[in-house]
């Protein structure tokens, strides 16, 4: 680790590695804050669709966190993971899982909108009541 900072200070690290390291660090910081906030919100909720949505969002952000961490580990070369192909497969697996969860989240959000959306229903009732009131009070 110290060697990494020395190399970083000396500018001996390739620009791409520095960039990846920066992005990964940003990813981890954002994900940590989001996970913490989400955990607090989730703990306040009782079971139900909203909690399910938050649970899935939690998993999605966790995957982002894992991806950030994975990139840091690769950049600082903490451990050597087999051939490049294996690294590529693992990286892609995390990204694909993240994307799959994103899609699942979108469908959950659609479900929430369908279930909890009362716009049409409320409009109908409001018009019905207005109509009823105007019939009761003839000009």
């Amino acid at each position: 680790m110290t060697e990494l900072f020395v190399r970083l200070a000396e500018g001996a690290l390739p620009a791409t590695t520095v960039l990846i390291l920066l992005y990964a660090l940003l990813c981890i910081i954002h994900a940590s804050f989001s996970l913490n906030a989400l955990k607090k919100a989730k703990n306040e909720l009782t079971s139900g669709k909203l909690k399910k949505f938050m649970g899935s969002l939690y998993i999605t952000i966790t995957l982002g966190f894992i991806y950030g961490l994975w990139n840091i580990l690769l950049s600082i070369e903490v451990f050597q993971i087999g051939p490049d192909l294996l690294r590529l497969i693992i990286s892609n697996l995390i990204v694909i899982s993240f994307l799959m969860y994103m899609t699942y989240l979108a469908f959950l959000a659609k479900d929430l909108g369908d279930e909890f959306g009362f716009r049409v229903m409320g409009k109908k009732i409001s018009e019905y009541v207005k109509d009823k009131k105007s019939k009761k009070q003839p000009l």
């Binding site: 369908d114 279930e115 009362f118 409320g122 009732i125 019905y128």
Partner: protein, 188 residues
């Protein structure tokens, strides 16, 4: 059952928005509910939301229609039908089905969305009933939910009726809840 109407008229006279805790005798429970709804939808002519945790939506609608209550003025939130049903129930014309009476967060969100969708100036929320909520949830959770709900009702400026059976076991929570409400109505 004209008594219910006159109690409502006398005690809630001049109040535009209020939160009332209605304590009902188990024998007269259904009749009292119907009379309160009749008062709100026919006498006051206001639309609103009926949260049923006691009886399934289809049973409730049949009862109300038999008693000539205009159900077209009401959005139903049913937290009991799905509990005993194996079928996947989707939202109907004027009813949303919640998975279980334990899903208090979902009930709260559904109520908030439904109340926002009704554009009338005056509207009501009818919660049937506190006693059934207590069967499925811990008293502390229900008290917290009711506190959240009553404060929301004040922001929404609605007429809120919370029905509860007069039970010895629920005395503590009723006493606690009556603090959050404007008035306690006794329909014994």
């Amino acid at each position: 059952m004209k008594k219910v109407g006159s109690i409502l008229e006398n005690k809630l006279k001049g109040l535009n928005d209020y939160i009332a805790l209605a304590l009902v005798n188990s024998k007269k429970y259904q009749k009292t509910n119907i009379e309160i709804l009749r008062h709100l939808t026919q006498k006051e002519n206001i639309p609103g939301i009926y949260v049923t945790i006691n009886k399934p939506y289809n049973v409730m609608v049949t009862i109300l229609k038999t008693n000539k209550i205009d159900t077209d003025m009401i959005i139903f939130i049913d937290a009991i039908t799905k509990l005993g049903s194996e079928k996947e129930l989707k939202k109907t014309e004027n009813c949303l089905f919640i998975e279980s009476p334990k899903d208090l967060s979902d009930i709260g969100i559904a109520m908030s969305q439904a109340i926002d969708s009704i554009k009338s100036k005056e509207k009501f929320i009818f919660l049937d009933s506190l006693s059934t909520l207590l069967i499925y949830n811990h008293a502390g959770t229900v008290a917290k939910f009711m506190h959240f709900l009553t404060s929301k009702m004040r922001t929404w400026k609605v007429r809120g009726i919370i029905i509860s059976l007069e039970k010895e076991s629920d005395k503590d929570i009723i006493a606690e809840l009556s603090q959050f409400c404007d008035i306690t109505l006794n329909f014994k």
